[in-house]
């Protein structure tokens, strides 16, 4: 099992009990009186059979509170995601904190900062880098690159998942489009691992048929589902954070109820992907501190529900790997971790979902390590308190440097970044003034030259190729 980080500090709590109750009871109100729109006759029938109030003309399902609360209770508070190598199996939930990546449609040139489609080789290398990075635990859907040169759009998710399976033993959660989840589920089963699916609501308060189908297929296969809700505050939700929490929560509950009525005890995670809308352009604003506030409240609410959580942190409005990119992602990622979210989507993505670059993922591995070290907290016991040592050492000229206690603890207590500039000034001058971006590029070269991912057994490789061939035929891309 992959350890990730264990949060040994109290999570941030910014809402009072009454405020949490207000968000929950107003969620129930929305679900009971406004309801959720489901664009699927099959799903409407399903809810009708399960005692929900269905308006077949408007495609609206209204949920009695007892069904909502019953569904919340049925969600497991944690579950295991089996990897093809057991050392990378995850247990999602509780006080465990894992790191994931963020998608980018294209790659970027590190000199001109222009975006362009990634090649298959670049996609493969980006996966290999993530396989090698020790603080990276689970691949996010649509990553690393959403669009890969030479791969037709319908095949992007199956080909992307196959590249991850072939070049890493870490688990994935995968997206859905045009029923491609059928092939994703087959590939996971063929390689003896769990895959997390999606059931994506469309804000406000709507599920289209493909989202319901994807959710149902994964749940029936006994795989976990991520109900990831992307919302733009002021556009697809109220502009107020509290209002946005209520509408977001009602949307998510629609999926949770569908999952728990389909298969009681279905494994669910909920992901907060809420962004404010830029009221000059209508674009989403990435890296905004409002997002972190929303996530902290969301995490507090879902701890109450005992449902595992994901949140996006690797979002920046910068188009480059620069200071803004660094502070926006680091601040959000730290707050996500402090909020007690279980999976922190941080690595690799730049400027929303437009760009991805492995150099960014290398830098994010250091951010993850720093944050992970922080949330693991302080070990307080007789040996770490060290009052005997303090007594023996005494005032100056006493020094703690040449003591076994220092040797024992200095490594344990610190996190050592791998691509940060930690040089002294003269060393830095001698090494051509390398900064963290250049050091990250050096690390990528080392990884690509030396890291060999555990290959797929031949029979599984054949199965994957067979499944891909079926998918290509289905989407007419042969």
């Amino acid at each position: 099992m992959k350890k990730g980080f264990i949060r040994n500090i109290k999570p941030l709590e910014i809402l009072t009990e009454e405020q949490i109750q207000a968000i929950h009871s107003n969620t129930l109100r929305v679900l009971e009186s406004t309801g959720i729109r489901f664009e699927s006759p099959r799903i409407l029938e399903f809810f009708k059979k399960n005692d929900c109030n269905v308006d077949f003309e408007k495609n609206i399902v209204k949920f009695p509170p007892y069904i909502v609360e019953d569904s919340i209770r049925k969600c497991p508070s944690s579950f295991t995601m089996k990897a093809r190598n057991p050392k990378n199996t995850l247990v999602i939930g509780g006080n465990r904190h894992y790191f994931s990546d963020m998608p980018g449609n294209w790659t970027i040139d590190l000199d001109s900062w222009k975006a362009r489609p990634a090649t298959k080789q670049e996609n493969k290398e980006a996966v290999i880098v993530l396989d090698a990075l020790e603080n990276f635990d689970i691949f996010c859907a649509y990553t690393p690159y959403f669009e890969v040169d030479g791969i037709p759009p319908e095949m992007s998710i199956p080909e992307s998942y196959a590249a991850k399976i072939r070049n890493s033993t870490k688990v994935s959660w995968e997206g859905s489009q045009k029923e491609c989840e059928i092939f994703i589920i087959e590939m996971a089963k063929a390689t003896g691992q769990d895959v997390m699916g999606v059931g994506l609501p469309s804000a406000p308060l709507t599920y289209y048929e493909d989202a319901c189908d994807s959710l149902s297929r994964y749940i029936k296969a006994d795989f976990p589902v991520n109900i990831a809700c992307g919302v733009m505050m002021g556009g697809t939700s109220p502009a107020s954070i509290a209002g946005s929490l209520v509408s977001f929560n009602a949307e998510v509950m629609g999926g949770i109820i569908l999952a728990q009525l389909t298969r009681p005890g279905a494994k669910i995670v909920v992901e907060d992907s809420v962004l404010p809308m830029d009221m000059k352009t209508g674009h989403p604003v990435f890296g905004d501190i409002t997002t972190a506030l929303h996530i902290t409240a969301f995490a507090q609410l879902y701890r109450k529900y005992e449902i595992p959580t994901f949140a996006d942190s690797g979002w920046t409005n910068s188009k480059k790997i620069d200071f803004q990119d660094g502070y926006e992602r680091a601040m959000t990622a730290l707050l996500v971790a402090l909020s007690g979210v279980n999976v922190n989507n941080l690595y690799g993505g730049i400027y929303g979902e437009l760009e991805y670059h492995p150099v960014q993922s290398i830098l994010d591995d250091d951010i993850a390590g720093m944050i992970g070290r922080y949330i693991e907290g302080i070990d307080v016991n007789h040996d770490t308190i060290a009052s005997d040592l303090i007594e023996i050492t005494g005032p100056i000229p006493g020094s703690f440097l040449a003591t076994s206690h220092t040797r024992k603890y200095f490594r344990k207590e610190r996190f050592f970044p791998k691509s940060a500039d930690t040089m002294t000034y003269p060393e830095w001058i001698n090494l051509d003034k390398k900064d963290c971006i250049v050091l990250a590029q050096d690390r990528i070269k080392q990884i690509i030259e030396n890291h060999i991912p555990e290959p797929l057994p031949d029979d599984q490789e054949k199965e994957i190729e067979k499944i891909l061939a079926k998918a290509r035929k289905r989407y007419g891309s042969i």
Binding site: L401, A402, F410, T424, N430
Partner: protein
């Protein structure tokens, strides 16, 4: 003989395991076993050289280096005593007097250089911190040192290095000794301006500078 080899290996291990607590007792066992104390000394030198090399490569850290050095401080007196009893003397690449200048109590950088010089095979006389100019001069004369190494970590104490060099000139022994300087406010320009023979930005560089000044190859 088998026992001797075992004890000699134990002696090396005590350095490589940074085992300060057992250093002295293991050294005593080695001598009691009848092992050649010169061989025991070279075992310690070999071990500290390995530690020094690993530190230079970045595989080991400062606490490792200084703890290994502490092991040596405990083990060496025992071995040295046996060597002297046999009327022999250890061979070294040269004699170095080292210390942090007057007014300055920073010991870490100086300690690193001292350990790495020792690991490289030099005899090192460490005068410690807050060393007065006259004490440097006295030690250099008494020990007939080949190199004087001075550390200063403060801009206010850096000029103290110049004072010691002036003292060497006044005593008429400036041409008999090489002087190296180091510390974070020091750079090559400063080193040149006060008439030092060499400067190293890092501890491993300091060792290279000493070897270069004494004409010792890598």
């Amino acid at each position: 003989m088998e026992d001797e080899t075992k004890y000699l290996n134990d002696l090396k291990a005590v350095v490589l395991n940074f085992d300060i607590d057992n250093a002295e007792s293991v050294a005593k066992k080695v001598i009691l076993s009848g092992a050649d104390p010169i061989l025991a000394a070279s075992m310690l030198t070999e071990a500290i050289r390995e530690v020094g090399d690993a530190f230079g490569k970045g595989d080991l850290f400062l606490p490792d280096l200084v703890c290994a050095s502490e092991v040596l401080k405990k083990a060496f007196p025992v071995i040295n005593e046996a060597i002297e009893k046999n009327g022999k003397e250890q061979v070294s690449l040269g004699k170095i007097v080292i210390g942090t200048v007057f007014g300055d109590i920073h010991s870490i950088g100086k300690g690193m250089v001292a350990t790495l010089l020792y690991a490289a095979g030099f005899k090192v006389i460490d005068l410690g911190i807050n060393v007065k100019s006259e004490d440097f001069l006295k030690s250099v004369k008494e020990e007939k040192a080949d190199v004087l190494a001075m550390s200063a970590l403060l801009t206010t104490t850096a000029m103290e290095q110049k004072k010691v060099i002036e003292g060497l000139k006044e005593a008429g022994i400036r041409d008999k000794i090489k002087v190296i300087v180091g510390g974070s406010p020091i750079n090559q320009e400063f080193s040149d301006s006060i008439g030092a023979d060499g400067y190293g930005a890092t501890a491993p560089e300091g060792v290279k500078v000493v070897k270069r000044l004494l004409g010792i190859g890598e």
